[in-house]
């Protein structure tokens, strides 16, 4: 026990003191800050007013109506112009950025499907849709006037919007959009942790083998302790980094909430607001507990396999890639299953994917935000957790057998077939 603890300590300390860890840990909050303030700042700066000349042949688009719309949305200004210039419009001389030509049409027949917004530059979909909204509002108004629908009647019409919303009877407060968002985020985080820290375990074992220190260490401790110490040490590094990030997010969240409380930055407010809804509408203790469980369970499950692969490699990185490919594939398949599970959290793929330990760490996390026991019955959660524990005990045992042989085996290229033979040999 003491020796395993020593190994854990060494693995943990050498990694946490590394520059890459410190940079990676600090970089995340900095990127997070940049995201909040950067997007807000860029949105503010890049907002430009588009001046659009409207050449109306129908007579419905009066400057009064256009001005009303211009007041409602200042991103573009539409002006009625009367010009009969030839084919090409002189944008520079006129001072307009674009030209919208409205042909002659009647209010009670179908309007032309496509109006063309001519310009000497390309404008994106956002400009297109903004202009489209304005034109359609005016067109609605024209129809309303001609049909004799006044403001009062219009209100009655507007009241007539019926919305359909899926509600889980067992868990009313869950909102499908939010749940899938949280589920996805948790699933992806576990996915990254398994891949990044799993390969750290693999590289760490490989380093010990190629440095030829493995034989010295195994003359003091059992290979199993050596492997376990490495996996737990690296798992703790992942956990530390993760907790630091959460702490940073909380700090930044509080700071930015105060800063933006006055209501200046729109984008920042929005992000802060959405984080607030997450915190208030999800069963936070349960989700955090499950996240920690599946994060550690999934990491142990896969890290021991990665450790076994690391022990079988001789200095050749390509060998590492080809041996770890099938394992990496399993993790990627889990992500694919997760995207299905997020959209259909009670379907068979979601249920089985979240029970089988190969994919359960990622898939189950996609389902849990939908609610326990509403969407995920307690027996499924219990079975999934039980199987994951059994699963990682099995992979650790299995990996330890491979590790014992592999760590001292030099010079020979190893295949999965050979590794399986090591694992099932009698001692």
């Amino acid at each position: 026990m003491r020796k395993t603890f020593l190994i854990i300590k060494r693995e943990y300390m050498t990694r946490v003191r590394k520059k890459t860890f410190i940079i990676g840990t600090l970089l995340f909050p900095i990127l997070y800050l940049l995201l909040i303030f950067g997007t807000g700042y860029i949105a503010e700066k890049s907002r430009q007013q588009l001046k659009i000349a409207v050449l109306d042949s129908s007579g419905f688009f009066t400057s009064q109506k256009l001005n009303l719309q211009n007041l409602a949305d200042e991103s573009s200004i539409m002006d009625l112009v009367k010009t009969t210039a030839g084919k090409s419009y002189d944008y520079d001389a006129s001072g307009y950025d674009a030209l919208l030509i409205i042909p002659a049409m009647k209010w009670d027949t179908a309007a032309p499907n496509n109006l063309v917004l001519k310009a000497n530059k390309s404008y994106g979909a956002s400009v297109e849709s903004a202009v489209q909204t304005k034109v359609n509002r005016i067109w609605d108004e024209v129809k309303n006037e001609n049909l004799g629908i006044d403001a009062g009647k219009r209100e009655i019409l507007a009241l007539n919007r019926i919305q359909v919303k899926a509600v889980n009877e067992n868990d009313e407060k869950m909102d499908a959009g939010l749940s899938s968002g949280i589920g996805m985020a948790c699933g992806f985080l576990i996915y990254f942790i398994i891949l990044i820290y799993g390969s750290q375990v693999m590289m760490g074992v490989m380093e010990e083998k190629t440095n030829r220190i493995a034989e010295i260490i195994v003359s003091s401790v059992k290979p199993f302790q050596m492997m376990l110490g490495k996996i737990i040490g690296i798992g703790l590094v992942a956990l530390t980094q993760f907790l630091l990030w959460i702490a940073f997010v909380f700090v930044i969240y509080n700071v930015t909430a105060n800063l933006t409380g006055s209501g200046s930055g729109g984008a920042a407010n929005q992000i802060v607001g959405s984080i607030q809804t997450i915190f208030t509408s999800v069963n936070l203790p349960l989700t955090l507990f499950c996240f920690a469980f599946y994060f550690l369970g999934g990491f142990f499950f896969y890290a021991s396999i990665y450790g076994a692969i690391g022990s079988a490699i001789n200095e050749d990185v390509r060998e590492a890639q080809s041996l770890s490919f099938p394992v990496t594939m399993l993790v990627i398949i889990s992500i694919v299953l997760m995207t299905t599970a997020v959209n259909d959290p009670t379907g068979p793929i979601a249920v089985w994917g979240s029970i089988i330990p190969l994919s359960s760490p990622i898939v189950m996390m996609a389902r849990i935000p939908y609610g326990v026991p509403g969407t995920v019955p307690v027996w499924q959660l219990a079975l999934s957790m039980g199987l994951l524990i059994a699963g990682f005990i099995f992979t650790t045992w299995f990996a330890a057998k491979i590790y014992r042989t592999g760590i001292l085996m030099y010079g020979k290229k190893t295949s999965w077939k050979e590794m399986l033979r090591w694992a099932f040999r009698k001692n």
């Binding site: 050498t14 380093e207 010990e208 030829r212 034989e215 010295i216 003359s219 059992k222 030099y410």
Partner: protein, 309 residues
């Protein structure tokens, strides 16, 4: 009571019998040479003694009791042939780590490392990284970490490879001191002149089997060919029929002779005196361990064949 006793030890791998029924005894305080050509099974044997491998059959008795890999590894210091250290780790921390893994407390480890570092003039290295050390320097560090926990049994596999003569002597002196202070040393190497210089007892292993066991003197006596070097003032005259020896090689003032079966050196001297040869020196030529090694290993097929089991 011997410190280590191996009884009919066997370890078979899928493709070969790495250790095939080896028994040997290592006495306390002995410097024991474990010799053998490449692939003879030495490393496998050592790995069983250090608890890395479990024997398929046979027993290891360590210090009077059945060997317990978990507990007894604390009394063993092993320096493997293929050895390395964590490249990015500081030397002081590295030594501390390895010493603590062997069961030393923090304070004990620190005190002993300091002591050894002073002895080997390594004090200034504490905060250096292993990757900054030369091969000889890291070899010294390796030796220190092997014996820090004052093991009862020290196993050194090619301890002098990569060391210059000065550092070789330094380590050699420490090995002698360890033996004097009661440690037992198993020394594995291909360099036979080192074995002759250092070891009391040797065992030669080939193809997983023990083919020679004894003290250095015994072994030499066993393999002697009754050769003598005779220094004389003139060339030995042609031998007559009663000469109890034959001349193998004759120079101007010395000759190498082989005594016939059943005759003694005194017979040779008597004959020479009767022939009026003025003798300056008379000396037995014992075979070197190198000769014995080559003779024994070459008499069996050179390369190890893969045997089916």
């Amino acid at each position: 009571m011997p410190l280590l006793e191996l009884q009919q030890l066997k370890k078979y791998f899928a493709s070969q019998k790495a250790v095939d029924d080896i028994s040997l005894t290592v006495e306390k305080g002995q410097i024991f040479g474990l010799l053998g050509p490449n692939g003879a099974g030495k490393t496998t044997l050592i790995r069983m003694i250090t608890g890395i491998f479990y024997p398929d059959e046979g027993q290891i008795i360590f210090d009077g009791k059945k060997f317990d890999p978990v507990k007894d590894v604390g009394y063993i210091g092993y320096m493997p042939e293929e050895r390395g250290l964590y490249k990015k780790m500081k030397i002081g921390e590295q030594a501390m780590y390895l010493a603590q893994l062997k069961g030393l407390s923090r304070s004990d480890a620190q005190a002993r490392i300091k002591e050894w570092f002073v002895k080997f003039e390594m004090e200034s290295w504490w905060n250096k990284k292993v990757e900054d050390l030369s091969k000889g320097m890291s070899q010294k560090l390796q030796f220190v970490t092997t014996i820090l926990h004052r093991p009862k049994l020290v196993i050194l596999d090619e301890p002098f490879s990569g060391l210059d003569p000065v550092n070789s002597n330094l380590i050699k002196d420490e090995i002698f001191k360890l033996a004097q202070n009661g440690s037992t040393i198993i020394f594995s190497t291909h360099r036979m002149e080192q074995v002759e210089e250092i070891c009391n007892h040797i065992v030669l292993v080939n193809k997983g089997k023990k083919i020679l066991d004894g003290t250095v003197t015994q072994v030499k006596q066993e393999f002697k060919e009754n050769l003598f070097r005779i220094g004389s003032s003139e060339v030995i005259p042609a031998l007559n029929g009663n000469a109890p020896f034959e001349i193998l090689n004759s120079g101007k003032a010395n000759a190498i002779v082989r005594i016939q079966e059943g005759k003694t050196p005194n017979d040779v001297l008597q004959y020479l005196i009767s022939q009026n040869v003025a003798i300056h020196s008379f000396q037995e030529i014992l075979p070197t361990l190198n000769d014995i090694f080559i003779r024994l290993v070459e008499s069996s097929p050179a390369a190890r064949q893969f045997q089916s089991i």
